[in-house]
């Protein structure tokens, strides 16, 4: 797909209405807010914020970098703000865990230029390893927090967050969720008259050096700022009450939309308290809302953040109000909401009878379920990780190793036929976990990491392995991009966030520099050689009881397709010669490229899916797979 050039986002065309992805809208809000420095590490569902800003940076006159990880990104954005510039960092929910060390203390130092931190939570773990609710980070750190409910608000709130940050001299957390960031909606654009600047100035101030003496002072300042922020929250337009009825519904973020759909469907008279400024909460207004409404229904995804606060506040009221939320089971605490869940929750709270979906549809759907084939995500056709996994698996036959896997496209190695994972925890954990396995037990250990993951968080663990004499094989699957999140550049790619050439940091040189003795680089498409290198290396690791690194380097298949199309290199599908095929099923059962399937007991290759990598032909012991003569347009984008 050709992502339309987002350059129009720099235009000063207030009032124009465009369809924007929530994340693009956040990027637009940053431009309207005059952001000067952007630093980020990509992560679904936040990636398009940084990607859009990366495409706009040069023309827009601001600085953008993909930092090695979220903590570094947080620090880069922080120091830009210390210099008086407006800065932004964005990350997925677990990214804020990585950045939290910098973040929590940053609330202590406070900021100068407006600084906005976007965190995108992922209820239902669409593309994540956990389901945490980052609203607690606001409470934990003391930072003010804003929560948009749709793309329009995502833009407006981001632009406003810079002002709020400057007013309070604190970084502002903007928290969205998958269904805000990955929803598209009509967005009315604002003005881009405010221009960025890269002429910041830094003046020494004790608050920026958090020694114990200054930290003690700053903690008191943080508490004072929280109270100031609460006053602003009381007055904020982002916290609004509308509709009328005895029933009061308190909601925030994407849940607001489901509430609107629900009251329309239920024809319900209700007052809605929609919260967009959610830390600190407007306590006085919430109390007065509660004193004039009964019952109160709280609709929020994930943790009972609002519910806990509202219940605590209700204790200060003279009268007793009924409050329905998730603590009594009216709404779920896991997964994401939808209109159905919210209709069900509201009608249960109010003892209303309502049928959301017709029983005939439910019945028919239950009956057709057994027909549906399983279709979990897989490594793409032509993916270099498949070739690497294949070679490692063949080389490790009989060794029965433990596999500590990591976060990236290669996580899909969990699926059959490879199933090469025993652990997967967080970015970089493949290497750290391998250290502990090496100390704790005797089976051989194979760790995996992607190139971007290696730079992000594997390096300290690899140093640890050398220093503490841990013994395992680390396979770095280097496909030249942060592929899973959209092929962003990283320190090994030779391109910067500004789209300019950059120095290339080499994984094998880092490994050697750290003191790893056994370092090899292979091309996984050279299957035979790869198997040999893995076999030899595993043997050496066992004999010498030390760590080894094999960098398996081959461009991501999606990048190869893009490149070939640009170069006008033909992409020719491969095919199975039925005369030569013996039906051994090695290509199916041990390699399983999605282009290969079995029809009428014959192995065939779907020419619409095959991307011409040729690896299956190398694997076939009978030379039965060959290249087709005709050029073909591959459908995969």
């Amino acid at each position: 797909m050709n992502v339309a050039d987002p350059e129009f986002l720099l235009d000063d065309s207030p009032g124009r209405v465009m369809l924007l992805l929530g994340n693009e809208a956040i990027a637009k809000g940053a431009v309207e807010g005059g952001v000067s420095v952007v630093a980020a590490y990509p992560g679904t569902p936040s990636s398009e914020i940084a990607d859009t800003l990366s495409l706009l940076a040069s023309k827009g006159g601001f600085y953008m970098e993909y930092s090695t990880n979220e903590k570094v990104a947080m620090e880069v954005a922080a120091s830009a703000s210390f210099c008086g510039l407006r800065s932004l960092t964005c990350m997925k929910h677990v990214g804020l865990n990585v950045a939290s060390d910098a973040f929590i203390s940053l609330v202590h130092t406070g900021v100068r230029g407006g600084m906005v931190i976007i965190t995108v939570d992922d209820p239902f773990c669409w593309s994540s390893q956990n389901e945490q609710d980052n609203r607690f980070f606001a409470q934990f750190s003391g930072a003010p927090m804003l929560e948009p409910s749709d793309p329009q608000e995502a833009k407006d709130i981001t632009a406003y967050a810079f002002e709020l940050s400057e007013e309070l001299q604190e970084p502002v957390l903007v928290r969205t969720t998958t269904r805000v960031s990955h929803a598209r909606g009509d967005v009315k654009l604002g003005s881009t008259k405010r221009k960025p600047s890269l002429k910041g100035t830094f003046e020494r101030d004790p608050r920026f050096g958090l020694l114990p003496a200054s930290a003690r002072v700053r903690h008191k300042v943080v508490l004072k700022r929280i109270e100031e922020a609460r006053q602003l929250s009381e007055k904020s337009r982002l916290n609004s009450v509308f509709g009328d009825g005895k029933t009061g519904i308190i909601t925030s973020g994407v849940s607001h939309n489901y509430v609107m759909e629900a009251i329309n469907a239920l024809n319900l008279e209700a007052s809605i308290f929609k919260l967009g400024f959610t830390h600190p909460l407007p306590e006085e207004r919430l109390m007065s809302f509660m004193s004039s409404h009964d019952p109160i229904i709280i609709v929020e995804e994930l943790e009972p953040y609002l519910e806990n606060h509202v219940k605590a506040l209700s204790n200060r009221l003279k009268k007793k109000v009924r409050i329905f939320g998730k603590q009594d089971g009216f709404f779920p605490r896991t997964g994401e909401f939808n209109t159905r869940i919210v209709i069900d929750g509201i009608s249960k709270s109010l003892d209303m009878k309502h049928v959301t979906v017709s029983p005939e549809i439910e019945k028919a759907y239950a009956e057709v379920q057994p027909l549906l084939p399983p279709r979990p995500p897989t490594l793409c056709a032509g993916c270099s990780h498949r070739a690497t996994y294949y070679a490692v698996k063949v080389a490790a036959k009989g060794l029965n190793p433990l596999y500590s896997n990591d976060i990236g496209c290669y996580s899909l190695g969990v699926a059959p036929p490879f199933q090469m994972y025993d652990t997967m925890l967080c970015m970089g954990s493949g290497t750290g976990i391998a250290c502990g396995f090496s100390a704790a037990q005797d089976q051989p250990v194979i760790a995996f990491a992607g190139d971007s993951t290696f730079f992000h968080a594997s390096i300290p663990a690899l140093i640890n392995a050398v220093y503490n004499r841990h013994s395992f094989l680390l396979v770095v699957m280097d496909n030249g991009a942060t592929a899973m999140t959209g092929h962003q550049p990283h320190p090994g790619t030779g391109v910067s966030g500004m789209g300019k050439p950059a120095p290339k940091v080499k994984i094998e040189e880092i490994a050697r520099g750290i003191g790893v003795k056994l370092v090899y680089v292979i091309d996984p498409f050279d299957v035979k050689k790869s198997i040999r290198v893995f076999r030899d290396t595993l043997k050496k690791v066992q004999e010498r009881k030390e760590v080894a690194v094999v960098v398996s380097r081959r461009e991501c298949a999606l990048l190869t397709i893009r490149r070939k199309r640009k170069e006008k290199t033909p992409i020719m599908p491969w095919k199975v010669d039925p005369e030569k095929c013996t039906g051994c099923m090695i290509c199916v059962e041990e390699f399983a490229c999605p282009a290969i399937f079995v029809a009428n007991e014959k192995v065939v290759i779907d020419p619409n899916i095959c991307v011409d990598c040729g690896v299956c032909a190398e694997i076939c012991p009978y030379g039965a797979i060959e290249r087709e003569k005709d050029r073909h347009e591959v459908k995969t984008i």
């Binding site: 909606g185 509709g243 209109t339 759907y365 199916v588």
Partner: protein
């Protein structure tokens, strides 16, 4: 408060990640904005795009809030793949229309012997339990006729224009395709829209 749900036109697009489902949804959304509608498109990115099942919901109307809608509320289902169309057939309303590409992608799991892919006729019969208004279309062939197999999405969108009550005009879709898609295959995509439309009308 008056119920306004009836005024929203709900579309669900289903298929396999990486085959153009997201792009088609984006074209629908942008075209709707061009015609002055309020729009919500509910997408899923990331790991789901890697060959897994994917559904995108597009909501067009005057007062749209949620990015997704409930079962039984779709006016239109656009299926890029047979079994994936069935997986979301329960989203269709009784009067809803299904436009389905006559194309099967066997999941690797099935190739490896986990579960099975039902016969084409079985899938079609199962979808018929949710709607009587179904159009099966060989979009891959029409796309090839348009000049490239990658234009399957445009064929299906062209067919959608023929559906009674579909709120978007062919000329808006064409304009949007010109704005959003690569210039490299523009001619082919425009032709694919026409071929899809003509097929559906005949």
């Amino acid at each position: 408060m008056k119920s306004r749900q009836s005024k929203t036109y709900n579309i669900v697009l289903t298929g396999v990640g990486g085959t153009g489902v997201l792009t088609a949804a984006r074209i629908l959304g942008s075209a709707a904005v061009k015609q002055g509608f309020r729009v919500r498109v509910g997408e899923v990115h990331g790991i789901a795009q890697r060959g897994g099942m994917i559904d995108v919901q597009v909501r067009i109307g005057e007062d749209v809030f949620a990015p997704t809608f409930m079962e039984g509320q779709a006016n239109l289902l656009i299926g890029f793949e047979l079994a994936e169309a069935l997986r979301h057939a329960n989203k269709l309303s009784r009067e809803g229309v299904a436009i389905i590409n006559d194309y099967r992608i066997t999941p690797t799991m099935v190739t490896l012997g986990h579960g099975s892919y039902p016969a084409r006729e079985k899938v079609i019969a199962a979808i018929k339990r949710f709607t009587k208004n179904m159009m099966i279309i060989n979009a891959v062939n029409l796309a090839k006729e348009a000049g490239s197999a990658v234009t399957v999405g445009s064929v299906l969108l062209g067919a959608a224009v023929s559906v009674n009550g579909f709120p978007l005009k062919m000329e808006t879709l064409k304009k949007t395709v010109e704005d959003l898609l690569s210039k490299r295959l523009l001619r082919e995509n425009l032709k694919a829209l026409d071929l899809g439309y003509n097929f559906a009308r005949s």
